[in-house]
Symmetry: C2
Subunit: 388 residues, 2 copies
Amino acid sequence: MSNARVAGVGLTHFGVHPERTSRDLFAEAGLAALDDAGVDPADVEGVFYGNFMGELAESQGHQGPLAAEALGVDAPATRFESACASAGAAAREAVKNVRNGEADVLVAGGAERMNNLGTASTTEALAIAADELYEVRAGMTFPGAYALMADAYFHEFGGSREDLAAVAVKNHANALENEYAQFQREITVDEALDAPLIAEPLGLFDSCPITDGASAIVLVSEAYADEHDLDAPVAITGTGQGGDKMALQDRESLVYTPAAEAAAREAYADAGVTAAAVDVAEVHDCFTIAEVLAIESLGFVEVGEGITAASDGLTSRDGALPVNLSGGLKAKGHPVGATGTSQLAELTRILRGDHHNSPAVPDAEVAVAHNAGGTVASAVVHVLEVVE
Amino acid sequence: MSNARVAGVGLTHFGVHPERTSRDLFAEAGLAALDDAGVDPADVEGVFYGNFMGELAESQGHQGPLAAEALGVDAPATRFESACASAGAAAREAVKNVRNGEADVLVAGGAERMNNLGTASTTEALAIAADELYEVRAGMTFPGAYALMADAYFHEFGGSREDLAAVAVKNHANALENEYAQFQREITVDEALDAPLIAEPLGLFDSCPITDGASAIVLVSEAYADEHDLDAPVAITGTGQGGDKMALQDRESLVYTPAAEAAAREAYADAGVTAAAVDVAEVHDCFTIAEVLAIESLGFVEVGEGITAASDGLTSRDGALPVNLSGGLKAKGHPVGATGTSQLAELTRILRGDHHNSPAVPDAEVAVAHNAGGTVASAVVHVLEVVE
């Protein structure tokens, strides 16, 4: 089995691009990734593409062929949909295809157009990632669902809105020099606490924005990388996936995300690493509480201790384990179907040393990406390593 | 590399089930497949699930976790969407996972709920599988698109509405004893010709119906089959996928489906067989003309000769190469996201000898399934063989 190397990465600016379609956004990210890789588009054997709400936002399903067409490649393409983990799920299958010799060159990525719907309609559209019969009909949307999880966490382990605000403050600071980020501005804890509540205890700054954007990575076999003399020092050495009950009411607890735990366990075993070996991570902070749950599920801190990781500085840029150096979903933005591969793109650049925040982890060798769907009813975790 | 064995198959009745959700339908098909396989649900390591229009028909995306939950399995699940080839795309990745040792037991399947939208809205919903910018906005829906392809075919190679009607007559006859089929009744050529035109030259009986239903197969590694002493004589020995421009206007010709040709080429090479070795096939006859194009792309007949295959008896139950012994999409029905794996289920039963139409091909050893998305902008082909 050969490792799947990340030969190149590409991102669009994440933000408000109401005049651009998913195919248009994906063309920019995908061609940038191929250019970064130095790979001839004619060599691409398949496109593994994530998109979540194209049916609702663009009246466009069947986006796989459009994604291949956007790159000008004559290759089969498949669209993966696993809510906010769509691109993570796409990348996972692409990684397995490459390492098992099914293909030498694949593009994995995703795109999402969201802002054209408007905030209220987008929140309703996003809710289709929850259980329509048992959650959405009762009025549940994701801010409310994550607010329940935050409340349950506070009840079980303690913590405060200040602790959550520290997550947002950290991630905004990390995005300050990220040219692709939706928000390149610092915020303060007071600003976060004074902002309007969205669903108590979560306020405006506990929530990621609505984002248009795309991302892509080029995965190649080691044989292909060698043959074409590619500069591809980073490999995806571990992949894992987990699932959980869709509706919160059907789970044993609101304060654990076992799907992410299972995904992490599988990815670590796959890569042959432990949580202790991880130098840097991108996690799915759709809401600040989600980052807290993520770092616990990934084994970076004990259960119940994630809440103070940001306020204590553990996960900050100069902390022991920097989390979301890109700015995370909170500040970089969250174009749903593109987020998973954007994490892999950011981490690849951090490991290669050409990320604006690479200096924060100058000797980083092992990175982890955590991509979650819904209230973590699905989760995909990847381990990236510097292999040469 | 171990072959992926089809240990079990399951289908719901295909038809009008407006009171049933996709998860409900999938539970029935998936549990039937596990029961047929004699596999403990606790052994299932993943669910590869196809669904096309859940967002529009059920306000439900992120159906992967629901599919796993429906089977009562604690395993990760991913939803694949490639229009009408969704379940084929799901099965393809599942096959590769099993044969490459990534998993020993996977369920591949799909479900679709369609009738609750009503005919006009369903036709509009289906149109999101075409190019929204360049086809749908101009008024194109799939009956119109396939009518253009039929007209182009007639112009290029000749043929008549009678030839197309022969396809429908054959497929209706094949479904007569299929307890899962939407239509268990014979039709005549005259009935087909006298029926209302939908989009000239295609009439009502040239078009598949709107269908609710689900299908599933259980894929296991040879090691697992041996260890559990499973009766699983059929393997999926070849898988292939192809892609094409989404919009008809961007293609060189309307009378070829190169995505299906590429998928067939790959699947045959993968299995180490040729078209001449195929004993029986299920092809994607969403419209009668689609079956004609399919058998040409699969190499069963020369280009331009597919039009008379049904009227000449080549593809009939007692012909040299029986096609759509299940009744095909035309008579069995076409629950979009479930069709790909329903073809694999039908062919497995034919090869095992326990299908109502198995007697038509008593010594069948090699079967082919052809599943297409949109106007064949995506295509997945699988080769099934009796391996013990």
